[in-house]
């Protein structure tokens, strides 16, 4: 794995999308102040922000970044990992800011919130990434699947009271979502 390229893509895209990232982080912080208890706000809001950040990686929004990355000597899977890291890091920032705001009102629940929210955010974000290189119904389907992942994660964490099951489920989903995205990106024709 080319770490320099990974960090280059991360820095380049986070800089280009800094306003969206700032808006997501602000929304998460405000939600953390307003609704500090329970899993609903951190899990669904942060997953939604992750899905929005994933969709912000769609080709055409930053054409010069797209062209540089398409022309760079990187394998599809390397580019997929680098591009996947961007929304995951941005959404993780949002989840941590939510937890930071929560700690001001309900410090006891912070560690659990971080674990539950991060697991759901990463699974939902990686699933939504496959929507970025698709159009129409299949794009909507991937976004719906990503949203459904958050629902299942919430069911496991809050309904079944099993954080371990939620984290395990999200880890499996994230693994297959990243593989799927890498394979799709390797076949993708940028026209």
């Amino acid at each position: 794995m080319n770490v320099r390229a990974l960090l280059g893509v991360l820095r380049g895209r986070l800089y280009a999308q800094r306003r969206i990232v700032a808006a997501c982080c602000t929304a998460a912080f405000v939600a953390g102040i307003v609704q500090p208890t329970g899993f609903v706000a951190p899990l669904f809001l942060c997953s939604l922000l992750g899905i929005a950040m994933a969709l912000a990686q769609s080709p055409g929004l930053y054409p010069h970044l797209d062209r540089c990355e398409q022309g760079a000597p990187l394998f599809g899977r390397e580019l997929a990992r680098a591009k996947a890291l961007v929304p995951c890091v941005a959404a993780a920032f949002a989840a941590l800011l939510f937890a930071g705001a929560q700690s001001l009102r309900d410090p006891g629940g912070v560690p659990l919130t971080i674990v539950v929210a991060l697991a759901a955010v990463i699974a939902g974000t990686l699933t939504a990434l496959s929507a970025t290189i698709r159009h129409g119904a299949s794009r909507a389907l991937y976004v719906a699947i990503a949203a459904a992942m958050s629902g299942i994660a919430y069911g496991l964490a809050a309904g079944a009271h099993s954080v371990l099951a939620e984290v395990g489920f999200c880890a499996i989903v994230a693994f297959f979502a990243l593989r799927q995205y890498g394979e799709a990106l390797a076949r993708y024709d940028p026209i």
Binding site: G12, H64, L74, I191
Partner: protein, 185 residues
Amino acid sequence: MRDAAFVRDGTSVGPFTLDLEEGERAALQCDAPRDAAIAALLGCGIVKASSGCVLIGDFDPRVQSVACKRLAALVPHEPLALDDGEFPRYVAYRAALWNLEPRRAHERAALLRKRLAGMHEAFAFPLIGALIGMPKLVVLDRPQPAYVRHILDVVAGRALLTTHADADGARVFAPNTLRFRSVQA
């Protein structure tokens, strides 16, 4: 390129046939701007040919795309609007993607920027970005004819392929323009 064509969803570009050695240059004149853009992507191995073949060095983009991308660099048609403070960031980004030593990439970029003095920055920056990876083939998608002197100067010694949507632009970049008419699939 040997009968290299791109055909998909009603879009048909090519077939193109041409040989280009190091130090040589060729201009492809296409029917429409979109065709010229696709021809440029085909020429540097970013898009795979639907039929025929493209070889960059000894590599086929369909199976050795990473090796092809080490040899060829694309300069897109669209200008790159960056301010002076963002240019070093852009060079660092390109250097990271091409796994280049950052210090050497910045030195090379500064040198190229001096040589491209007089060329509008929005057109110079993508060209500099493409050249810091020291490609053997440079592909320019519809370059500005006004900057032909600058472009030929910095690209000298490398193979240069330009694509155009008009005859005048193509003639300026290469004396022997290859005109291709797209065949409907």
